[in-house]
Assembly symmetry: C2
Homo-oligomer: 492 residues x 2
C-alpha cells in the first residue's frame, strides 16, 4: 500500500511508525506488528503504532530516527507487512523452556541493540530467562554477545586488571584508591564506572569532580597504556551497548535474572580486555545481598563464568552494612579520597581500599596477603599513589594540582547532634542515600552529607553526628524534613 | 522539580511523558520509570521516556492524551518520582511462580486497561502466565476481571445463548445462520463478533454487508430483547475492554497462555449475560488445532471454566481441514448466507449451521439431536429463519429487502481451471485466505474468491475450480501471481 509520508517532529528510541487504524487494517497489521517501508531500493523495517487521530488515512507518520534511515526524505512509501525477526522465534523457544544456542542468543542481543525488538518482546525474553534461568553455556553466550554488541578496547600492555563492586553501600569509593595504587605498581587498569541511578554518587560522578570522565574508547586505551590507569564513565562509550537496553527493561520490574546480572558485569570487563578481575560483594543489612552465604553463592557463579571466558576472577565478600568513608556525595567523597592519598582521611575507607588492592596483588603476583597489604599501604605512605592519581587526573583533562581543601561542599548546611549518650550501633545505608539525594546529590556535586561519627563510635549527647550540605535552602529543608534518622544510638 | 510544559502534538496509547535525560537524572528516574505530575490539587502519573533532543532541559513534553487528564492546560508542573503501582509487585509474584489471588489479578487487569502498566510490564505478566500457567482459580479471576474492565449488558429475557468459534477456517459463516434460526425459535442471542485480522473476513465484516455492525451496548441489549438476535462488532463496544489490550501484547509473540485464551473468550460471553454457550472447535490440517485430541483437551477446560462462571457450556469439535461454503470475502459470504436462508446455497455450510443449532437445541431444551436437527432445517425451509434475519437486518439499520442477487462481487475477476482429471482431495485454508486477502478482502467488501468445487468433488481437466474477485486489476494480478495452488487434485 502506498502512503504519503508525514514527518513527525519527534525522536523515538524505537523504530516506530504511526499508521491510521484504517490503513493498518488494510495492510493487515496492528500495533506492535512490523511493516517494511520501501523507497526505491531502500527497505526499512519498523513497528506499527496505530492511531485514530494523529495520522489520517493514506499517510504514514515518521519520526526523525526513522527518517534518518533513508538516504533522502521520501514523499511516499510502499508499506507492507514484514515478517518478525528470527529472534522472536528464539524468544518463543526460551518461553517454552528450551535452551538457546550461542547463535540464537547472539541474534536476540543484536536485535535488542539495533532496536529491532519491541520492549514487550525483550521483556518476554528477560522474563523467560528469569523463570527458567540461564545455564552456564547460555550465560557465556550472553556475555560474548553483549561484548560483541558494542565497542571493544584492546590493551596492549599487561597485566590488565579490573574491579567491580556490586554496589548498594553509600560512599565506599574504593575504586579511586584501587586504581591509582595498582597503576603505581605497574598494573594496567582500564576502569569504566557508572553514574548514580538511585545512590548519592556513582564512581563516575565522584571522579568527575577531579577530571572529565566522558572519554572515548580510544582515550581509555591510550591513558591506560601510558599512565596505567583511567577512571571513565562507561555510559559515555559504546562498550557493552546492549547492556543499557537490557537494563532499561529489567529495571522497572526489578527483574535481575542471575545469568543476566553476571553477563552484564563480566561483558564490561571482557570488552576492555581485563585479564584479572576482582569482584567486591558487600553483604549485610541494607546491602544488596543480606548474608555471607548469598554472597558466596554469587561468588561461585562469577568464578565459574570467568573461567569459561578466559578471565581470572577473585571475589571478596565485604561488610556492606554501613557507609564506608565520611563524605557522601561527589565532592565530599572526592575529598575523602584525596585526603587518604595524602596519608590522612577516613581510616575505614583507606582500610577497605588497601585490602582490595592486597587481594588483587596476592592473586596476580602470588604474594602472601600480609606482604601485599603492606605494599599497598606503602604506595600511599610514600606518595606514589597520589602521584599516580595526579597523572591520571591530568591525562583525563583535570587539574593535577587539585588539593582536598579546594573541594568545597555546597554552601548551605545543617548539622544534626546526638540526642543522648551511647554508642553508634547502626548507620542506615538507605536513609543516608535518601537524605543525600534529596539534598541534591549527585547532580549538585557539592551536595551530600558528612558523617562525623562512624559505627562503633561512642557519642555524648550534643556531639555532632552528621552534617547535610545543599546548594539550595529549600532542598536542605526538604532533606531534613524527610524525618529519617540514619543513626541508631544505644546505651552502652 | 518544576518543569515547563511543552505540548507535543501527538496522541500516544500509553501515558508517556518526555523528559530530557538530564532532568530525568536529576529527578532520579529513567525511561520506563514513573513520575507524578502535580498541578494544583491534581496529580497525574505517567511513564518517562528520556530524550536528548526533543525536549530541552527544564521542560516536560506532554502528549494530548496526558494533557486531557488535567482540568486545564498547565504551564508548569511539579514533577517527582512516583512509586510503581501495586500490580507490579503482583507481576513479580507471578514471575516467582506464586499463585495470584482474585484481587491481585483484578488489580493487574485494571492497571492494564487504564494503561498504568507499560507494555514491558504487561508482557512480563503474560510471559509468566504462559510459563507457569494459570490455574482454574486464576482463570476464573481473570475472566471476571476482564468482564469488570468493560461494559456489561444485562439481557432481561431468557434463555440467553451464545456461540463462539475458535476460528482458523475461511468462510465458515455459521454464526449468520445460527443466530437467526435460534432467534426464530425464541432464544435470545446477543452475538458480538470480531473483524478479520489475518483472515479474509470476520463475521463482523460479513454482517456489515447487510447492516451496520458498530452498535452500542444499549443497542445490542435492545435489539436482542425485542428481535431475539443481533450480530454486532465487539470492537465497537467497550465489552471486555482489557482483552484488546492483552491481545495487542500477546499477538506479536503469538503467546496464548491457555488460561488467557479461555478467559478472553468466556469474558465476552459473560459480559453479555449468556446463559448457554456453544463452542465450535474446528480441528484438522490448516485449522488452529491439528487433532481431535487437542480439541477435546481444550473443550474440557471450557466446560470446567463455564461451570465455575455459572454458564452452561457445550463444545462441538468440527472438521476444520477445508473451507466451508463457496464464497470467501464479505460480499460473497453474505450471499451464501442469504441463499441458504432462501433454501438454496452451499450445502456444506447449511449442514454445519443447522448442526450447530441442533447441538444447542438439544443442549438447552433437552431435545434429542435428530429432532433438534429437523427443527433447525424446518426453520430454514419454512422461511422463518429468513424472516428473522430480515428483522435483525432492519433492527441494525440495514435494508431488510436485500436479495442475494443484490450482493455483487468486485468487478474484476479471473477463474482458475483444473489442469487434470481427478478428485479434489484438499483445499488449503491458508492459501485460500492469502489469495482472498491479497485480492482486497476484507477491506474491499466485494473482493475474495468463489469456490466452484469443494473437497471430494470429481473434476475434469478444464473445469472451473475457483474465481478470484478484486476491485483492482493490479491486486487481482498480485493475488494470482502469488503462485499459490489452493486445490490439490489427485487421480481417482
Amino acid at each position: 500500500m502506498k502512503l504519503k509520508v508525514r514527518v513527525l517532529d519527534l525522536e523515538a528510541d524505537h523504530p516506530i511508525v504511526v499508521l491510521n487504524k484504517e490503513d493498518a487494517r488494510k495492510i493487515g497489521v496492528y500495533s506492535g506488528a512490523r511493516v517494511e517501508m520501501r523507497f526505491g531500493d531502500e527497505h526499512v523495517v519498523a513497528v506499527v503504532d496505530e492511531t485514530e487521530k494523529v495520522v489520517p488515512p493514506g499517510e504514514i507518520g515518521l519520526f526523525e530516527n526513522i527518517l534518518r534511515k533513508f538516504s533522502s526524505v521520501p514523499k511516499e512509501l510502499e508499506v507492507l507487512p514484514s515478517p518478525d525477526p528470527k529472534s522472536v522465534l528464539y524468544i518463543r523457544k526460551k518461553l517454552d523452556g528450551r535452551r538457546l544456542s550461542p547463535d540464537e542468543i547472539h541474534e536476540i542481543i543484536m536485535d535488542v541493540v539495533e532496536e529491532r525488538l519491541t520492549s514487550a518482546e525483550a521483556a518476554a525474553f528477560i522474563s523467560a530467562s528469569y523463570i527458567y534461568g540461564l545455564n552456564l553455556d547460555e550465560t557465556v553466550a550472553l556475555t560474548n554477545a553483549i561484548v560483541d554488541s558494542g565497542e571493544q578496547i584492546r590493551i596492549d600492555k599487561h597485566p590488565v586488571i579490573d574491579k567491580h563492586c556490586i554496589g548498594g553501600v553509600p560512599n565506599n569509593r574504593t575504586t579511586m584508591l584501587y586504581v591509582p595504587i595498582l597503576a603505581s605498581l605497574g598494573f594496567y587498569v582500564p576502569k569504566t564506572s557508572s553514574r548514580a541511578i538511585t545512590s548519592p554518587a556513582g564512581t563516575a560522578d565522584t571522579m568527575e569532580v577531579l577530571a572529565p570522565v566522558d572519554l572515548t574508547a580510544e582515550e581509555i586505551k591510550e591513558i591506560t597504556e601510558t599512565v596505567g590507569g583511567v577512571m571513565a564513565w562507561g555510559g559515555g562509550t559504546r562498550i557493552a551497548a546492549a547492556d543499557d537496553k537490557l537494563i532499561a527493561i529489567r529495571r522497572p520490574l526489578a527483574l535481575d535474572p542471575r545469568g543476566m546480572l553476571l553477563a552484564s558485569i563480566m561483558a564490561k570487563k571482557k570488552a576492555v580486555s581485563s585479564e584479572y578481575v576482582l569482584i567486591d560483594i558487600p553483604v549485610g543489612e541494607g546491602a544488596k545481598l543480606p548474608t555471607v552465604r548469598a554472597g558466596e553463592d554469587l561468588a561461585k557463579d562469577f568464578i565459574t563464568l570467568g573461567e569459561r571466558l578466559g578471565m581470572h576472577v577473585k571475589v571478596v565478600i565485604t561488610d556492606g552494612s554501613a557507609p564506608i568513608g565520611r563524605g557522601v556525595g561527589p565532592v565530599l567523597e572526592a575529598r575523602d579520597v584525596l585526603l587518604i592519598l595524602e596519608g590522612k582521611g577516613p581510616s575505614d575507607l583507606r582500610e577497605k581500599g588497601t585490602e582490595l588492592v592486597a587481594h588483587m596483588l596476592s592473586f596476580v603476583k602470588d604474594m602472601d596477603y600480609e606482604t601485599a597489604k603492606k605494599l599497598a599501604e606503602r604506595q600511599i605512605d610514600s606518595g606514589a599513589a597520589l602521584k599516580k592519581m595526579r597523572e591520571i587526573i591530568e591525562a583525563q583533562g583535570g587539574d593535577p594540582e587539585v588539593k582536598p581543601e579546594d573541594l568545597k561542599p555546597a554552601k548551605y548546611s545543617e548539622t544534626i547532634y546526638a540526642e543522648r549518650d551511647g554508642v553508634v550501633t547502626r548507620i542506615d545505608n538507605k536513609a543516608v542515600a535518601t537524605i543525600a539525594r534529596m539534598a541534591g546529590a549527585p547532580f549538585e556535586k557539592g551536595a551530600g552529607m558528612y558523617l562525623h561519627r562512624v559505627r562503633g563510635d561512642r557519642v555524648k549527647k550534643g556531639d555532632p553526628l552528621y552534617t547535610v550540605y545543599s546548594a539550595s535552602k529549600r532542598l536542605l529543608k526538604d532533606a531534613l524534613e524527610l524525618g529519617l534518622k540514619p543513626y541508631t544510638i544505644e546505651p552502652r
